[in-house]
Symmetry: C2
């Protein structure tokens, strides 16, 4: 049997916890024999949710944690004070090497703070970014930073580019991934001060396949493997993508249901639409990895459904098997611009 | 007869010039008797394009201009050197009060530079923003700055808020317009340094109906009349909106055309879809006004069609009739934070 990967999963995080988390986890366990999961959270609630699912008992365990960090809580305080929360307990399992990766649909802030303070940054990594896998017409792009670090400098963006390229090459399997800089025009002279400073750093880094600026309007079309932005701009890209898609597909659905005639039409177009639109399904990728930590941390959508939970498990397995943290460590150690701040 | 509004229109700007510009202009002239237009550009090309359209000859004139500023030209140089370009000639007509407003689908950079250097800023206005009217499910939001000023300070954003509120009240007719700050979370403590500095300025300005942060994902839903952002973030919001909408509607169309069955369905749903999706039609508003100048400047999409051109004319008329430049002037004169930099 191949190497078993153990994932610590926050069973209490997200809008649909623990029910949907448990469903996704048991689905994943049934599909992959080399996966083991430790669910953290209120034992009796998790056990109740597990009823009705079949799963291999020897690969699923529960670590009781009585507290839950709420979405609205100030994260630094929450991580410090709620030592018995599902997030802190799970992260400590990763820190203590009882688990290889951590997955949660809970508070982004708490995951961010806990990731850095409990699991810890790889030496040389300045600002661990959230990296969002975004479906596009041509495949998938990795956007980083998608929201972890809002005020950054050009050397941070440069690091995001290098980390992102490793991820796309070794987890997603893209040879020589192209790297683009999110900008408001295609030309080098466009952009704010941060982008203008970053552009030459990326262009001159011979380890990167830098292809220039990428305008926001071209993001859904795709074609660039790694998209680099500060966490503020990156989060706007990600949230606009999700918001516009939700609004428009909602409008299409609403239109189709508005008359008998259109309802009949909807039945006829539905199978064809489903195929095309599944291209843009974000849940296929299982959440946003936070990169540059000593182990993988994956933040799922608060509204994650079981499919996203299952795919987050698979993402963890690919990540650990490809030994990405070690690859990032090696690349950063040889970073000539590294000032070990 | 009511006051006649004279609009100087760059006949050479945009992907479809001069044909589509001329079509939109003649449509507008036929619909509104109180509109007059001066087209600037190569006379013989404009005359050729005008053939086949009926229009009131006494309200349409051509001002010959032999040069065209290309999209890729560095704007400062272009404005300085191409004195006989359609943009410069038209802007001078506005500066010399031979026209009340300027409309172009040409180079944003040239419009921005020319607007400031030829038409001039209202005294006290620090950074004239582009203001984009964005269709939403609940109506329309004005996003500013949508791309003119990429590196700004909190007092600039504060001015954008005040200018935007005047526009929405007096041109669009919304009583006590709500003002929101584009952010990456709904809470006050979220955001980058610029947003955190701006938040209290907006909250404490009693002339504004400030309703807090607006997350990018909620933009398409609408509900906030004025959306404030720096030009970099604002441009990303706008371009993501357009890019995602184009990609998804393209995918829907593609899906519908993929089989005989779905084609029949498409025929049945089409009328219903059309109604719902027209809600999101950006051309209804006729381009982005650049606010804070001595006269109105409207930047249309490079790909503007005749409907957008026509509506840009109507936007100019509403703007001039409501005397917005004067209203902005008065509000800015009483701005307590104004340091007349």
């Amino acid at each position: 049997m191949s190497q078993q990967i153990k994932v610590a999963v926050d069973a209490m995080g997200g809008d649909n916890a623990p029910g949907i988390i448990v469903k996704g986890v048991t689905d994943a366990l049934r599909e992959r024999e080399d996966l083991a999961v430790i669910l953290t959270g209120r034992k009796e609630e998790i056990e109740a949710a597990l009823k009705g699912y079949s799963y291999p008992k020897d690969r699923l365990s529960i670590q009781d944690a009585r507290e839950v960090i709420e979405m609205s809580e100030p994260p630094v305080n929450a991580i410090r004070k709620k030592k018995d929360s599902s997030i802190v307990v799970a992260m400590k399992l990763v820190r203590d090497k009882q688990a290889d990766a951590f997955v949660s649909a809970g508070s982004s802030g708490a995951i961010l703070v806990g990731g850095q303070s409990i699991i810890g940054r790889i030496r040389g990594i300045r600002r661990p970014p959230f990296a969002a896998l975004m479906p596009t017409r041509k495949g998938v792009s990795l956007l980083l930073d998608s929201g972890a670090n809002v005020d950054v400098r050009s050397e941070h963006l440069h690091q995001f580019a290098r980390i992102g390229a490793i991820y796309m090459r070794d987890v997603i399997g893209i040879k020589n991934p192209s790297v683009g800089l999110i900008n408001i025009g295609a030309e080098e002279e466009k952009g704010n001060a941060l982008v203008k400073e970053t552009f030459p750093l990326l262009r001159e880094d011979k380890t990167l396949n830098f292809t220039g600026s990428v305008e926001a309007r071209d993001v859904p079309e795709g074609g660039t493997d790694v998209l680099v932005a500060d966490g503020f701009a990156g989060n706007i890209v990600l949230k606009m993508y999700e918001g516009v898609a939700t609004a428009l597909l909602g409008a299409v659905k609403e239109g189709m249901m508005s008359s008998l005639r259109s309802k009949i039409g909807a039945l006829l177009v539905k199978p064809a639409l489903k195929g095309v639109l599944s291209t843009y399904d974000a849940t296929a990728y299982g959440g946003a990895p936070m990169l540059g930590l000593n182990a993988l941390v994956v933040k799922m959508h608060g509204s994650a459904k079981d499919r996203e939970v299952k795919n987050a498990m698979f993402q963890c397995m690919d990540f650990v098997k490809a030994d990405i943290s070690d690859k990032i460590r090696k690349v950063i150690e040889t970073d000539p611009t590294d000032d070990r701040e």
